[in-house]
């Protein structure tokens, strides 16, 4: 399974990267590659252009701002997992990262990339939603901030325009009761259903086209999850109830 042909670009600045996305027809951003490259290998994605942002300088920091923690585009999930800043200010994020795939994948995958990829069964989008964080996007017109509630549009579909790059994910500081529970078939797999708690807020993943907030008292209300090989809609709703119960039991 080999990728179909593409032109490869490795811009040296954010401006150059955004310019490429704006000017090239049918281009995709390559960050960690842990989600994109499998799609290329399967030829499920056949972009004409790949814009590799891994060489962009100054985009690999985790820093405090505005009462929360900003994680820049090139921060690897493995580094975020170890971050003292996140551990101190927003421990839900490192806790969630322990459930993301496996260490070897986390060595390369990025926090922002996972959020931008918008897989409804992924952990980090739901964490962003539960915490009411935001994504910073840079486009040809400049920078904008997109609240988590507006960011996830559908399965693998975010609010990013084709000529925008997500440069940062911002998580509000939160040290209240929190947790992430998911039910997956094997260790590290995408979850059949998952739940994230930040205080009184609950976000679910794997049970809708995007991560969704839910009522801890009746988390499966209004849910219409899809069915697949491993879980029917009914089973997903059942798991949601179980996971929520566990999260709010303490």
């Amino acid at each position: 399974m080999k990728p179909s042909p593409f032109r490869y670009h490795a811009p040296g600045s954010l401006e150059e990267a955004v310019g490429l996305l704006a000017s090239l027809e049918d281009s995709k951003v390559l960050a960690g590659g842990q989600s994109l490259v499998p799609l290329l290998n399967f030829r499920l994605a056949r972009p004409a252009h790949l814009v590799d942002i891994n060489r962009l300088p100054g985009l690999d920091r985790i820093y405090e701002r505005d009462g929360g923690v900003a994680v820049q585009a090139l921060v690897r999930q493995a580094d975020a997992l170890r971050s003292a800043t996140l551990g101190r200010l927003c421990p839900l994020v490192p806790e969630a990262l322990q459930h993301v795939a496996h260490q070897v994948i986390r060595n390369r995958g990025t926090v922002v990339g996972s959020i931008a990829h918008a897989d409804p069964a992924a952990e980090l989008p739901a964490v962003l939603l539960a915490l009411e964080g935001e994504v910073v996007a840079r486009g040809p017109g400049g920078e904008r901030r997109i609240a988590a509630g507006d960011f996830f549009r559908g399965v693998l579909e975010s609010a990013l325009e084709p000529d925008e790059i997500a440069t940062e994910a911002w998580f509000p500081a939160f040290t209240g009761p929190h947790g992430l529970r998911e039910e997956s078939r094997r260790h590290g797999d995408y979850a059949m259903a998952g739940a994230v708690r930040a205080g009184a807020r609950l976000a679910l993943f794997g049970v809708a086209p995007t991560p969704v907030t839910a009522d801890p008292e009746d988390p499966a209300r209004d849910l219409q999850p899809s069915g697949d090989i491993e879980a029917t809609p009914e089973f997903r709703k059942h798991l949601v109830a179980v996971l929520t119960q566990d999260l709010f039991a303490a």
């Binding site: 399974m1 080999k2 399967f42 090989i229 879980a231 089973f235 059942h238």
Partner: protein, 778 residues
Amino acid sequence: MTTRWFGERVPRREDARLLRGAGRFTDDVGEQALEGCFVRSPYAHARVLTVDASAARRHPGVHAVYTARDLPFGERDLPLLIPHPALTHGRTQRCLAGSTVRYAGEAVAFVVADNRYVAEDAADLVEVEYEPLPVVWPLEAAAEARALVHDDVPGNVAAELTQESGDVDRALASASHRRRFRFRYERGAAAPLEARATWARWDAHEGRLTMYDSTQSPTSIRGGLAVLFGLPESSVEVIAPDVGGGFGPKIMLFYPDEILVPFAAMRLRRPVKWTEDRREHFTAVNHERGQVHEVEVGHDAEGRLLALDVDFINDAGAYTPYGIILPIITAGQIPGPYRVPSYRVRFRDLYTNATPTSPYRGAGRPHACFVMERTLDAIAADLGVAREEVRRRNLIQADQFPYDVGVAWQDGNRVVYDSGDYPGLLDKALHQLGPRPAGDHIGMGLGMYVEGTGVGPYEGAHVQVLVGGKVIASTALPTQGQAHATVFAQLVADQLGVAPDDVTVTTGDTRRFQWGVGTFASRAAVVAGNAMAVAAGMVAEKAKRIAAEHLEVDEADLELVGGQVRVKGSPDRGLPLAAVAVLSNPVRYAFGGGTEAATQFAPRPRPGPPLPAGEQPGLEATGYFSPTGSAWASGCHAAWVRVDPRTLRLEILRYVVVHDCGRVINPTVLEGQIQGGVAQGIGGAFYERLAYDAEAQLRNASFMEFLMPYATEIPDVVIDHQETPSPLNPLGVKGAGEAGVIPVGAVIASAVEEALGVSITEMPLSPLRLFELTRPPA
């Protein structure tokens, strides 16, 4: 000989190169070979109307695109490997599909290009026009036969066979207790981590075809290619180099690439290779295990079996290249280690529009075990008797061997168990299992099995002591991780009085040894192992003969110890084996290495010609072993399992295997095989599933969705042994390669049934399935 090495935990000889990444797997061979790629049918059943390869052929970097029309053998069906009189409607596919494709993944065209990237680009350009036909799927639909896989096979029935031992109808009629069951086993996949690969080179000067193939039977590939291409066998070499797991599907032959790659190499006068990718592996490589059983059992008030009547259908897939061996094995193995006074088994092998089937580790036995073990568990539940007790009451006893089950076995003989101690296995397993752990929703799993191993027709071995003193040995069957280079070295070392480190073993290379069958059905240690011992024994005898002449002693006074041939009781009177090797070859020219001792003016031990009549030069011998019947291994698995009632997740708290493969050559290697087999069994029972949709399209052809277990899903298995040597071979060994996997499905089902209080009659299971079973729709 010594028995120094037999039974020892000799560390593996093959590890160093594998640990350094210096193994040589088929895709490693390289040599600037062109690379191939298949165009495969996306439809499970369709007419192929047109195949237009013109754009693909024009693509830069493409050297050829073959369709059925382009092949001189394009209209020839591939061989039907194991014919059987009951296989009245056997069908095999063509190398590339002609007018009809019958499973999604069937090969339609073969592209050869500079590399795989270009080949895939070109494959995208091949335009095939299909006319979809009604799909026969799943297995039950094949039985209903509203549509046919092959137009000329009525009812989709490839074969039908009924066998009976005793009088089932009478026994059932007079039984005080009768029960009926239906069991369903879905097909599964072996999924070795090295997918298949083939590499071939045609040397036009020497008229020789050389092929590397990730196969479990190089000799069969060689023979088949020689026939197909009209070459003398001596002009065809097939080597199975390092192979990254076999587990059965690599014994299947011929896969289309095994013909197309050498064909392209000969046509294009360049080396050509093809390496399967993971996605195509899922549909291009054979599966196994789809069966549905209707069972009726008659028993008495004590739970003793009186009659067993089984009627099952077997999912052949779209073709039957491997004949009906699998359902024959299932039919032969259902009785297992139990006395079944009257047994009748009928099977129909049915075509479906899915990937063909051929053996996968266990090869028909997991289903057989499932049927019998679930039946016994049901009897136990009905009578309120402990599951182990019902088994005890039915087990064949240690004094009842040889035990003739009364039905056919896969070697053309009957199922006759040679030796065993089944009650001993059960007792040991329960002892090792220990008491029930504390906690809720815990169940005990129990499963016993027998396994016919060491099937013939034969294997051979060549053993030679080189003039430098090192020993080389070779056998035709190949290796996929079973440590043959270590285990066979132990057997040879014992015969020759050297250390395993002094013995270098080559397997699976027709250039080194050309007569043999293959590695499958837990037969290598039994058949090739005994051949090694025979050949090495012959070398030992020759060494003594030669040494006796030179030392002027009786052969009977000599022994082979520590690399020497020496007089028993006088360890300083002897000759190094290396010197005997020199002496075995009378030379004119002393070219070094001690050969002066074998020249014409050196002291002559006896009158007559330098090479006596009937003697051959060299300290070497070739020996064979051909078994009269299978050696029957056996075992008992037991487990404590918990099922979380809320998430339906499986936790294996303790898993025990007590098994009997006769005398054990290398316990470490054996335990590795068992642990690995249990892991595959757990995967097949609870994680892996081939998810076909109604159109017989495989929905989960990737490792992301076909869930092979990681380390987190597999516990350490507690392994204990029992040894009842086989009387059927000199070493007393029985095979062990499949032992770990056979009863796992039954064990998990048994445990889950107790843990959740629901009846389990199918495989595989999953949290979803358990959710559905425990919460029936309102």
